[in-house]
Symmetry: C2
């Protein structure tokens, strides 16, 4: 998905939230706004939002020496999600359609996203997920039958992770289909907001249910031109690709490849582009 | 009130909304974003938000030759508000405390604001105001007794208008206190978003209840350094000043002068600065 003009105010919002994690000094926040402002004219709307986000991260790296300030937030998300793991498993075990429940939980776990806001009441969000009224939110495009069919036929599944914490929900889904097929779980290569890295995958035990690799990318979305050769080979050969979250959707919505996007729609631009409504949970194949 | 760093993403949002009124061409919207981006580093946080908005308007004037694209919206707001005028008068007549009701209606009329969004369901907003559950929204600082006392003692009242349409609500308030005192009603000098101009004041019959003048300002807030000499003289001499809306609050919150601010709090920065909560209606004296 290309960048739309309404993404631009949002880039500033995101940069400000990230700047606030590094320092409370408003003068430095203003300098960051000035630096993002200098990027805007150079940035084409033909690029994807994660490419712009990647340029913004470079500003932060230059200024703050590559500190991973979301580390604490990511660790906390991982721990809380791991505490929930038994409840998630129980929820799946008690459901009539185990795979459907696991898919819904995996998408619901996509609320653990710090891109636009530094604060998130994970407990409250998770309670909503686990409550009797699950799934929270309206379903948008939800191609479950097609997904089940394609998944059953797939021998190799590439799973593109999004956020730390959320990957515990991904693990629950992977555990439902990993029998008889090879599952490769790809994380980001470098810190990018609260996106999952190798260390998060290991903490959450993803290595017990899949082969964990890095996509090689340092953007908050799987931008193919920045991915490693190793990853691209797997991307090309996998029978089915499961792509989590908005950043991966933005990076890959025009990609050619058997990709099912699983995401919660958290911004009006993605809502419009995917034909869903803000807050919807989406399971949709493209390519 | 100075500009806070979180106002910067909002400047881009406002510029985009305004750009959309001029053209549907996204490439031109991007050019506008680029031009606003070029302003950001030159803009100090020590200035008020209406001063930044004024610079943005100059960009639009240069690009679109000073077209008043909010004219249609303003005319519509004026017409709809004038249709409501008898209902507003009836509401005041039926209330136990006429002045209080007129103050509440005047603040409620401040919802007619197109700064951040081009769409507004005025009918629905007005219905909420006129419904039995009025006043909608929590009251923040609401210094009514002090206001009544100071108003009773004042011989000259300067009333600073905010938006077209809203001025009909202001008229209803002015009609409650204009007996035995001189009322001067100040509008903007040039088009600025949907802010009221002389022509709006005349359409809504404000000239029947007050002396209507222009403040001389071409920003969406009464920035004193851009006001006319004539206005500044009145500003200095008035016994009481009633300032409507966020833009005037931003421009004058540190001004020295017997100013009562009447506004609906529509942004988190103003909420924090004024000690109110988003959505509150505020009646507060400063100076």
């Amino acid at each position: 998905m290309r960048t739309f003009v309404e993404c631009i105010p949002c880039f500033f919002k995101q940069a400000l939230e990230q700047g606030r994690l590094f320092t409370g000094n408003e003068l430095i926040h203003k300098e960051i706004m000035d630096e993002v402002a200098a990027l805007v004219p150079k940035f084409s709307l033909g690029l994807t939002p994660p490419e712009m986000a990647r340029e913004m991260h470079r500003l932060f790296d230059r200024r703050f020496g590559g500190q991973d300030l979301y580390k604490r937030i990511k660790d906390q998300s991982n721990r809380r999600a791991m505490e929930l793991y038994p409840k998630l498993k129980e929820k799946v075990a008690r459901s009539k359609d185990r795979l459907l429940m696991a898919v819904e939980l995996a998408i619901a776990g996509n609320v653990i996203d710090y891109a636009v806001k530094n604060t998130l009441n994970i407990e409250a969000e998770i309670e909503k997920l686990l409550g009797e009224d699950f799934p929270a939110g309206r379903k948008g495009a939800f191609e479950y039958e097609e997904f089940k069919r394609d998944l059953n036929a797939a021998k190799t599944v590439l799973y593109l992770a999004d956020n730390a914490g959320e990957i515990v929900f991904d693990r629950v889904l992977i555990e439902e289909f990993r029998q008889d097929r090879k599952v490769i779980f790809a994380v980001r290569n470098k810190p990018s907001i609260n996106d999952a890295l190798m260390e998060d995958a290991l903490f959450c035990g993803i290595d017990k249910v899949a082969q964990v690799i890095s996509s090689g990318v340092d953007a908050p979305g799987t931008v193919l031109k920045y991915c490693s050769e190793e990853f691209l080979k797997i991307f090309k050969q996998a029978d089915l690709i499961i792509s989590k979250g908005q950043g991966n959707y933005e990076a890959l919505s025009e990609a050619d490849g058997r990709i099912y996007f699983l995401l919660k729609v958290k911004c009006p631009v993605i809502a419009r582009h995917s034909g869903a409504t803000l807050g919807d949970i989406v399971l949709k194949r493209i390519g």
